[in-house]
Amino acid sequence: MNRTVLFVGFFIAVAVIGVLFVGLGKDPQVIDSPLIGHAAPPFALKAVGSGETINLAQFRGRPVVLNFWATWCGPCYEEHPTLVANARQMQPSVQFLGVVFQDTEDQIQKFLNERGNAYPTVIDDAGKTAIAYGVGGVPETFFLDKNGTIVAKFAGPLNTETLQSYLQKAMKQ
């Protein structure tokens, strides 16, 4: 038995497997955002359908699920039923809000009529709100606590399990 080989080998093995094991629990789709822990950038945008202006500040006092999406985005189709189902179940204690950018109102209205409409959707015409939130692609979802502070950000289509785990985080604050 060559003890040097054994000890050096085990040292390398423990280090490599240990690091990979720790990495297993993490999800690279969870993107650190400099905004996490900070107040969500304020906005007041026109709602699809009603045309009234919705101000983010009006939802202060309850957690908000802020979902950036567009009708030209495939994964947004995929996650829409999840958002609608969870919104129907959890509102009004939690507020869901969709922000659509680079899109037309007709397209959005058609999408919502066909696929369900459970919460307000606003149009970010110039894309300024998406820029303020540092959105890199759609869908991206921000979780705000009741004080309007961003608690987490998720890139890509959400499933119920992921959505609920982040929401728990937002509700704890």
Binding site: N2, L20, G23, L24, P28
Partner: protein, 647 residues
């Protein structure tokens, strides 16, 4: 019986056959039973047949659009072209593991067949190790990554990952990569068998070298194809980004290349037995690490499959193989006695040793850079990424040293040399170094690393070419030696082309409306127009450019944006005009069909095409080395050529 249930049945059978064969193999190795070895071989062939059958069932389901099979429902689509449908097998997680099993089955069957008349003392354990790995992958297919689940059939499916559909190279690149990755199981099995038996005799070296060389060829070409694909598709004009998964393919390549070199010393001088085996084991372990990286969802990369449950399973396998390898090595390494010894450091074998050291340094450098973000996050809870500057600053100097050795090593004789011999061997190629350096300087190269690469490349080129004189004679009498110089000449070209193409690129952003022109270097581009095209599986916005050089029309380029239904963002596809001297590359940044306007990134990259050609030359050299040399049947007495065994 439905297609899905046939698939599940075949996979379950493959779990049983591979497990049974592995047990029989190890038993036969211990008891030295010839009948046991025969049975192990039969099980190996049986496993291969079952994997071929399972893959055939899946391809049948894909081609007949049987959406009751879960994998087909996941990646199939009525609108995708047939070639995409066939390639869908490796477009997503479950299918790619099945494809892995298919290739492993073929490798095991071929290796079992080719070794049927030799090395009976090693083969039972080798088959045992191969089938153990096979059992693991069959288990993966049968349980956590089962592509044959029955689902309620939908009318149509989403189609495979759009990136796969975007370029033909994406269909060729994965099979080559798998042939490289999976093939490393065979040398691993042979190396473990040598350790279990406690000896590494001369008879096993030849099959071991061939078993390592073949997947090395595939892996070499696969890495190049991946880079070429990135260049042709991703639109940033580069071919290597030190992405975690690119690194994952490079790591086993580095250790396999080191092992191929240490084997030369082993064959020639009878030393470095334990070291060579360690390198072969590391190569296999790194392929499993690479598989973990792409399939665990731990690393964010263009290559990552979506998050899945198989990450932990692969990690357990990696840990098991790692512990098995370490214990085996610790138990047996002292039994592998050297048959010879080192005479001098300033010799061919000394340079081989130095080469191995550099390859190991490179492997650790790339490995640490790749997993460092995980370490930082584990320790400090912060996300970070290790970028290009780290890799470039660490890898480029070691790479330059390797290129230098590629010149010096083959120039030195085996076994040590006198000062006069050393001077005579090492001084003349300085001429070659000066020639290439001067040429580069004349053409405007000023980056210090580019100039160093040109000098070392010129030196190595002169040494390599002088060793390749009288190719016809060498091909007959010293094929492997000649083949290794073919590979080396490819390597020299790759180094020089990478140095020039990465430091002498010219990039310019151009905004044009229909009919407008702009000058980019010696080229003039004119926007003919912007079209919208509806294709069966995507919607494309295409810009058409007329490209002229010095007033003469050269070509029409059509960079485009493709929007696939299942993708978050449109995928830009650049278009390239390639010449021997370099490429002219147009990549869309912004396009508007209504306004007939487009913004493109125009990139002129000298010598980039040489990289692809030179890597193919490396692969050809490898193939040449694999072809057995026919000397026994010839009745001519062949004079012994100095260094005839290998360079």
């Amino acid at each position: 019986m439905t297609t899905a249930s046939i698939g599940r049945f075949v996979i379950l059978a493959s779990v049983l056959v591979s497990t049974g064969g592995a047990v029989i193999g190890f038993y036969a190795g211990r008891s030295r039973s010839r009948a046991g070895l025969q049975w192990a071989r039969r099980f190996a062939y049986g496993y291969a047949l079952l994997m071929i059958a399972a893959t055939a069932v899946m391809e049948y389901a894909l081609l007949t659009h049987d959406f009751s099979v879960s994998y087909v429902a996941h990646v199939g689509s009525l609108t995708t072209p047939t070639w995409v449908t066939i390639a869908s097998l490796w477009s997503s997680l479950e299918g790619s593991i099945l494809f892995w099993g298919f290739i492993l089955g073929i490798y095991i069957a071929v290796a079992t067949y080719l070794t049927r008349k030799h090395n009976d003392e090693y083969m039972p354990d080798a088959i045992g190790v191969w089938l153990s790995c096979a059992a693991f992958f069959s288990f993966l297919i049968a349980a956590p990554a089962n592509p044959f689940l029955s689902v309620a059939p939908a009318a149509d499916g989403p189609g495979p990952n759009a990136l796969l559909q975007n370029h033909i190279l994406m269909v060729i690149h994965p099979p080559f990569l798998y042939l490289g990755y999976v093939g490393m199981t065979i040398p691993f099995g042979l190396a473990c068998a040598a350790l279990i038996q406690g000896r590494l005799g001369h008879s096993i070296l030849k099959p071991l070298r061939a078993a390592l060389m073949l997947p090395w060829i595939f892996l070499t070409i696969a890495i190049m194809l991946g880079g070429w694909w990135a260049y042709e598709v991703l639109g940033w004009g580069g071919y290597w980004a030190w992405d975690p998964v690119e690194n994952a393919s490079l790591l086993p390549w580095l250790t396999a290349t080191a092992a191929l070199h240490s084997m030369v010393v082993l064959e020639r001088r009878g030393v470095l037995k334990g070291w060579t085996i360690t390198l072969i084991q590391s190569t296999f372990l790194l392929t499993i690490l690479g598989t973990f990286m792409t399939r665990s969802g731990v690393f964010n990369s263009v290559h990552s499959f979506t998050q899945s449950a198989i990450g932990p399973t692969i990690l357990v396998f990696l840990a098991a193989v790692l512990i098995f390898s370490i214990v085996l090595l610790a138990l047996r390494i002292d039994r592998l006695e050297a048959d010879g010894n080192f005479d001098s450091g300033v010799s061919r074998e000394g340079m081989f040793l130095f080469n191995n050291l550099l390859f190991v340094v490179l492997t650790f450098t790339v490995l640490i850079g790749t997993v460092f973000p995980l370490i930082v996050e584990a320790v400090r809870g912060k996300q970070m990424s290790v970028g290009r500057p780290y890799f470039d600053s660490m890898v480029v100097p070691v790479g330059a040293l390797l290129l230098f050795l590629l010149g010096v090593g083959p120039a030195l004789p085996w076994g040590g040399a006198t000062a006069k011999q050393i001077r005579r061997a090492l001084l003349p190629p300085i001429g070659g170094a000066f020639v290439l350096l001067a040429l580069g300087f004349a053409f405007g190269a000023r980056n210090p690393w580019t100039l160093i690469t040109l000098a070392f490349g010129g030196y190595a080129a002169q040494v390599t070419l002088s060793q390749m004189r009288s190719p016809v004679t060498q091909l007959r009498r010293a094929r492997r030696r000649f083949a290794s110089y073919v590979v080396h000449s490819g390597v020299v070209i790759v180094f020089v082309a990478i140095a020039i193409s990465s430091t002498m690129r010219y990039t310019q952003e151009v905004h044009l409306t229909k009919g407008g022109s702009a000058n980019v270097g010696a080229y003039t581009i004119t926007l003919i127009g912007v079209d919208e095209r509806h294709e069966p599986n995507r919607f494309a916005t295409v810009a058409r450019f007329d490209v002229a050089k010095n007033g003469v029309h050269k070509t029409t380029l059509e960079p485009r944006m493709n929007q696939y239904v299942a993708m978050r963002e449109p995928i830009g596809t650049p278009d390239v005009y390639s010449t021997i001297g370099g490429d002219f590359y147009l990549s869309v940044m912004n396009i508007d069909a209504g306004a007939q306007s487009v913004a493109v990134n125009a990139i002129i990259t000298p010598f980039v095409g040489w990289i692809w050609g030179a890597v193919i030359l490396m692969g050809l050299g490898g193939v040449m080395a694999l072809v057995p040399q026919r000397t026994a049947r010839e009745h001519v007495v062949i004079p012994v050529i100095e260094d005839a065994v290998e360079a």
